[in-house]
Amino acid sequence: MTVDTVKYAADNPDVEQPYRELGLKDDEYARIREILGRRPTSCELAMYSVMWSEHCSYKSSKVHLRKFGDLPAETHRGKLLAGIGENAGVVDVGEGYAVTFKVESHNHPSYVEPYQGAATGVGGIVRDILAMGARPVAVMDSLRFGPADAPDTHRVLPGVVAGVGGYGNCLGLPNVGGEVVFDPSYAGNPLVNALSVGVLRHEDLHLAKAAGVGNQVILYGAKTGGDGIGGVSVLASESFDAATGEGSGGPAKRPAVQVGDPFMEKLLIECTLELFAAGIVVGIQDLGGAGLSCATSELASAGEGGMRVWLDRVPLRDTSLAPEEILMSESQERMMAVVTPADVERFLAICAKWDVPATVIGEVDASGRLTVQWLGEVVVDVPPRTVAHEGPVYHRPLARPDWQDTLQADVPDTLARPRSGEDLRATLLRLASSPNLSDRSWVTDQYDRYVLGNTVLAQPDDAGMIRIAEDSSLGVALATDCNGRYAKLDPYAGTQLALAEAYRNVAVSGARPLAVTNCLNFGSPEDPAVMWQFEQATLGLADACRELGLPVTGGNVSFYNQTGDQAILPTPVVGVLGVIDDVRQRTPQGWRTPGAAIYLLGSTREELAGSEWAHVAHGHLGGLPPRVDLAAERQLADVLVDVARDGLVEAAHDLSDGGLAQALVEASLRAGFGARVSLPEDLDPFVALFSESSARAVVAVRPESEVAFTDLCATRGVPYASIGVVTESGESARLAFAGLFDVPLAELRAAWTSVLPALFEA
């Protein structure tokens, strides 16, 4: 097979190239030719096409994401140690520790091949965390599926859950939380957003750059195979051979979804941490999307010089791979490090100890260019920044959709509401046993939440909480949230509500919110309506982060989540990281002591548009989402953090989907204690139970703490109302609403827990 070298490309400028099949537009291809002063070789074309893809270049989102970079890059604990643009943001949490966290989508692969798509989603985000110099300490998964009873959901969900679990469990990372949400808009477009968090000492921070002329570039981890090269095969099998008139001798088209090996990743983690500890890593980058193309160009681009790579040295699992495919391969469990020549031997010895293959495949030079050789011939010679950082930037047209007004005018006010105690009881049970609000144990019991021994809170708690080290009381809490229905009704407010909920969930656990990450899942950026949603979402998030004093430390964008012209609900998943000085002071979710008083914090308004009630009872979506009140969120969070520190509450749970009713159901079932509740008299009982007003929580307070607690709420201006008392556990435990109805916890538990097993156990 002839190789398309730089020399050949220069001598044969008129060869037709399949850039359109690779997703490049005419003007993008023209720009590549202009940058290079000639046509690209097929290897160069492969690199540019994948690095300039939406996924890698953020070309449609970049102009909107800049807003996050304008936020102050600090938290109340100090300046960010690394921010947007690195593999993951790094936040100082005190005691010399830092935390890095990020969420990333693996939506499309998980639809094609649910198990491997989800598994490699976890693997990819964990390597991002590792590449910052951190030990990964936990994962979370934020999942969206089509209707719970749809046949395709039964194909996708079990595989996704098994994949998240199979990979994370085998890696030894506790899964401490996440979401599972069903909505028809995700049929054909499931969302698999994986989050990982890692812990490092400040001095252990590592960055992705190839510095120091003469330093060696080492590829280590799994061998390279044909995974994930998808469309790029067109180069090897069609264009070039066709162009040279030779037969198609290249490998057949390969599956576009990568296959994971969590055992190799576990070795890679331990091996990499030992390499960090040895102090012999100058720069490091994980290999994820766009494989070697991305790692080499990003490392070289961030360094001061250039890099040369001998591509034929890359250890292959499939020796028939063409150079274009090697550059593109998304084989998992690989890392690239830059090491001084003197340390290469030690580096290779540590890899050998962990049975991790490692090969010197290149070196840093002063050329200012990235050159790649294949069997002695130069097949790539490019300015690395043009590949990695100076891709196209689009100002896509955006337009508020014409249906937005109609949607917002379609308020839920006229929908039939339950009035009698009996009807309210039936509604509470119906919501608790709906797919979105029912018990998630069928999913989360497939995830190890105990491994590493530092899990303080895990789902179904409001936030996952991890002790930062065995010999410290310092901890971090994490929550991810998004209500896509709210975001559809108003993408600006909906995104702020997603942030507010995650922020509240972290505060409810007793941790002070510190920083934000996000995974913005939207339809096609070529649709002006979707682009408007996206712009509104980024504006909403940036504005709210500014008001709450939170930096955005990184994030991910996933576009093209749509079937035909039907986009998913805009789904800006927001992750909030919080810090708690003493994890022993965390607040659990469930009632624990009979006789404790139950308080409702915050203000309840009649806000049912986009609610779980409207969705479940009427299949209705219209109106405006609950009002955003960030000042109230902040006051509430301050109170929740302080009462945890001072030990004034023994349980707390945030109010969100399903309102007060669902919060009481969950807080009662968590540890099996009942409650006797008197709803506030100034509210219609239905509104009191099912409205989804934001900035609210319920807490349980022991009698001896009530005065101090209410004083604190009053001082901080947080509305509070005593609404009931915790009652006995055991067989006679009940959730009772004075004058309206009561439900035995046994009946409630049966309704709440049976849903997902009945759907997916068949």
Binding site: G172, P262, K266, L267, S441, T444, R584
Partner: protein, 224 residues
């Protein structure tokens, strides 16, 4: 007292086992799969995880690790060994314990807080429990179904070698609800649930697992 914890490639709960040893008052000593030196430890824990990825049968490759040669020989001579989860699988593959662990009957990984009954308290690892005591500790496995032929099961029960049994819902289809067993001498114990994850209330459901570690430490102190 020095308790060794072996790390195989793919071991995951090794640090947790070491912590449990320390919480119980012992000295945890890291043992590396490729070494042959047992570093003068007084007992060994084979921890949970997915040794070598468990891509073959769980524990099937770990059993041939260099460190295991000495452990297997010593265990036959009365040296105390506790196998937790993957460690239990390794002990069965090593023929230090009879039977085998197979894929859960529900075909899914299961992680939950599991109620157990301690039935045998005369082993090296369970003497701090009361016979018949019920405890709750985490279980987390994909291949935790204990199987053996009827005569083996009859013999285990007849000789009182069922150390812990599942109470209530059997999580993985284990025959006769068996969660853990011992060898004849009681120095070798294997179980699927994870006592090392129930040694502090902060990060575990209970402290019910601590007894496994205090049992061996108390015994070692008494016999030293």
């Amino acid at each position: 007292m020095r308790i060794g914890v072996v790390t195989f490639p793919g071991s995951l709960d090794d640090r947790d086992a070491a912590r449990a040893v320390r919480v119980a008052g012992g000295e945890a000593v890291a043992l590396w799969h490729a070494d042959t030196d047992l570093r003068s430890v007084d007992a060994v824990v084979l921890p949970g995880g997915f040794s070598y990825g468990d891509y073959l049968r769980a524990g099937a490759i770990a059993r041939f690790a260099p460190i295991m040669t000495g452990i297997i020989a010593a265990a036959r001579g009365g040296f105390p060994v506790l196998g937790i989860c993957n460690g239990f699988q390794v002990l069965c593959e090593s023929h230090l314990l009879p039977g085998a662990l197979v894929r859960n009957d529900r075909r899914k990984f299961v992680c939950r807080d599991q109620r157990l009954r301690v039935e045998k308290t005369s082993t090296f690892w369970t003497s701090d429990y009361a016979a018949g005591q019920e405890i709750v500790i985490p279980i987390k496995n994909g291949e935790g179904g204990y199987v053996a032929d009827d005569s083996t099961l009859d013999r285990l029960e007849g000789e009182g070698r069922v150390v812990v049994r599942y109470v209530g819902d059997n999580p993985n289809g284990s025959y006769r609800d068996i969660a853990g067993i011992s060898n004849e001498a009681g120095n070798v114990v294997g179980l699927m649930p994870h006592p090392e994850h129930a040694v502090e209330t902060l990060c575990g459901p209970t402290t019910d697992g601590l007894g496994f570690f205090t049992s061996i430490l108390n015994r070692l102190v008494a016999t030293s």
